[in-house]
């Protein structure tokens, strides 16, 4: 049974913002999310550097649909459904690799890495006309590459990627400019399997209210360890800001979020300033977490991809990004910083995941019908044409997510 209306799951008045708790616990709502959000809007699928060479490919998912992202010999990027046109077998079971062809393991039908069908085995038992209407693997209809990020949409129609980005584009550009050459290389991801609905990840990646509570233990431990910069987390909620956008995207801006060694950071700033000038360099390193709704969060040194598995299970692939155009020791320091905070065993990440699990457990209490997301609602500043700005510990970014969520789930345009 599909929900006919999602509008009633959100209360959005000038002073009140509430969402129904069942959006995290209802399996049917999860199914609708795959259909109406993940299979409709632009979603992040891979980074260009993962398929840098002709023949490189990697497999991924859009919602639940298996895809192959490949680069053919003519340097074109293809996003293809990972399913044989014959009888539906998985064409490629590897996570990544390099190949000119994909051959189905079931009956040997073969495809080029561009998706074109090039061989039907033992063709003599088919009619001469057979297969003329099968061009090859089914192409995901819309694909775009923006600053190295590959996005795709399973919907034939819809707004362009730049329209979809809206006001968050400026921050994606700042993020991409973290490299003086505007180029990054992503490496093997930290992969995490966690209990909790996928939306907790989207919400929390741009939440500035929780760190001083959830991450107090990590900050204290960091301060305690000798030889490290001591940081006082009590002032965390005074600096920075939030921006929420109509399509659900959000930006959390908190200076000093990453904690590079002071002298390395200075050298890094010199690299940036030489390329962009001092003023833009400051903007670039302002400490942005950027949610591109629904499935990717860009942080200082990683790309965090949210993979919904079921209503209460999510996988996250978090890709460390090595910057091109900076000396090796700067990337090493960025990796070291990422490792302790946000790797599979990151001292920040682990506590976030525990909270998501505890949220999911608690929301089985269906007697609790509404969640409160009204924090800082009245003090928000409009950011025309499609944004609003709030203080760092407000809930501007979560409200942006759910306004977009309801519109998409309801199938109504903004």
């Amino acid at each position: 049974m599909q929900h006919n209306s999602y509008r009633h799951l959100l209360i959005d008045t000038p002073a009140t913002f509430k969402i129904r708790t069942k959006i995290y616990t209802d399996p049917q709502i999860f199914e609708d999310e795959l259909l109406r959000i993940f299979e409709k809007v632009w979603v992040y699928v891979a980074h260009e550097s993962e398929i840098a060479q002709p023949g490189d490919y990697r497999t991924a998912y859009i919602g639940r649909q298996p895809i192959i992202v490949s680069r053919s010999e003519d340097n074109q990027i293809h996003v293809l459904l990972n399913v044989c046109r014959h009888r539906g077998n998985t064409i490629c079971r590897e996570e990544r690799g390099n190949s000119s062809f994909f051959r189905c393991s079931y009956h040997g039908w073969s495809y080029k890495n561009s998706g074109a069908l090039v061989g039907i085995s033992q063709r003599n038992r088919y009619s001469d006309d057979f297969g003329k209407d099968i061009e090859g693997l089914i192409r995901v209809p819309r694909v775009t590459v923006y600053r190295g990020l590959i996005f795709a949409s399973l919907s034939e129609k819809g707004e362009s990627f730049e329209e979809y980005l809206g006001g968050v584009k400026k921050y994606v550009d700042l993020w991409a400019d973290l490299s003086p050459e505007g180029k990054i290389r992503v490496l093997r991801p930290h992969k995490i399997k966690c209990s909790g609905n996928w939306k907790f990840h989207a919400e929390n990646g741009v939440d500035g209210y929780h760190p001083r509570f959830v991450h107090e233990s990590a900050f204290n431990s960091r301060a305690q360890a000798k030889g490290f910069t001591v940081r006082d987390s009590s002032g965390m909620q005074d600096v920075g800001c939030l921006r929420g956008f109509d399509r659900g995207h959000g930006v959390l801006e908190r200076p000093g979020m990453s904690q590079l060694d002071t002298s390395v950071f200075k050298d890094y700033m010199d690299c940036l300033a030489a390329r962009y000038g001092a003023e833009r360099s400051q903007e670039i390193v302002a400490g942005h977490n950027i949610l591109i709704f629904p499935n990717v969060i860009l942080m200082d040194s990683n790309i965090r991809v949210i993979q919904p598995i079921s209503f209460d299970t999510t996988e996250v692939y978090s890709f460390y990004t090595a910057l091109e155009g900076v000396p090796d020791y700067i990337n090493k320091e960025r990796l070291r910083d990422l490792q302790w905070r946000l790797s599979t065993t990151g001292m920040i990440l682990e506590d976030d995941l525990e909270i998501f699990a505890a949220n999911q457990s608690a929301l089985q209490a269906s007697g609790m019908e509404w969640l409160q997301l009204a924090r800082g609602m009245e003090g928000e500043v409009p950011l025309p044409p499609d944004g609003r700005m709030g203080q760092i510990a407000d809930e501007t970014t979560q409200r942006a997510i759910y306004r977009a969520w309801v519109r998409l789930m309801d199938g109504t345009e903004s």
Binding site: E95, L187, R188, P189, H190, K191, I192, K193, C194, S195, G196, V214, E216, S217, A218, N220, S221, R222, Q224, A225, K226, G227, F228, D312, E315, V316, Y317, Y320, A322, D328, N331, K332, L335, R336, L338, Q339, W340, S343, T344, T345, M347, E350, D351, L353, E354, I355, A357, A358, Q360, S361, Q364
Partner: protein, 164 residues
């Protein structure tokens, strides 16, 4: 000094006991000053260039243990109970006096007590891998490198906030 198989086993069993009994500060003392604790995603990569599940030097290890023992670390509230099982121990003494390579297999069974309706609690998990220890004699054998190559290292991992 060469390391005998019996000594190697004794060393590893003691480490397992310290971890199972949550004597983490004593565990820290098993390492050399420049000792590394490493859980790779891909074996034979350079952990300073490529991400790992865990890559701790002594400062990061101390930080991690401080969080485990003395802070409200939610991922460990309640803390994990573990059984570290060590087997298949093999010793290779190095060319240099006082260096030894010890290989073993490791199975860790872990549970955080609590009601199984609470995600993350009340469910027993198991982790398995091949370990490589580089031991160095510094007034007794110490760990210069502990590398744990999990069999599911490149797959999505659950809460790993205890010590493997």
């Amino acid at each position: 000094m060469t390391l005998t198989p019996q000594e190697a086993e004794g060393f590893l069993y003691r480490e397992a006991r310290l971890l199972d009994q949550r004597h983490f500060e004593e565990w820290l003392d098993l390492f050399t000053k420049d000792g590394i604790y490493w859980i790779p995603i891909v074996d034979d990569t350079d952990p300073e260039q490529e991400p790992s599940i865990l890559y701790d030097d002594s400062a990061l290890r101390a930080q991690r243990i401080f969080q485990l023992l003395h802070q409200p670390h939610y991922a460990q509230m309640p803390p994990s109970r573990t059984v570290h099982v060590i087997s298949n121990v093999e010793v290779e003494n190095g060319d240099r006096e006082g260096d030894a390579l010890v290989r073993c297999t490791l199975v860790v069974v872990e549970i955080r007590p609590g009601h199984s309706q609470q995600f993350g609690l009340g469910k027993q998990n198991s982790f398995a891998g091949h370990c490589e220890y580089r031991l160095r004699d510094e007034r007794g054998w110490h760990i210069a490198l502990k590398k744990v190559l999990l069999i599911d290292r490149d797959l999505p991992m659950p809460n790993l906030s205890f010590i493997l």
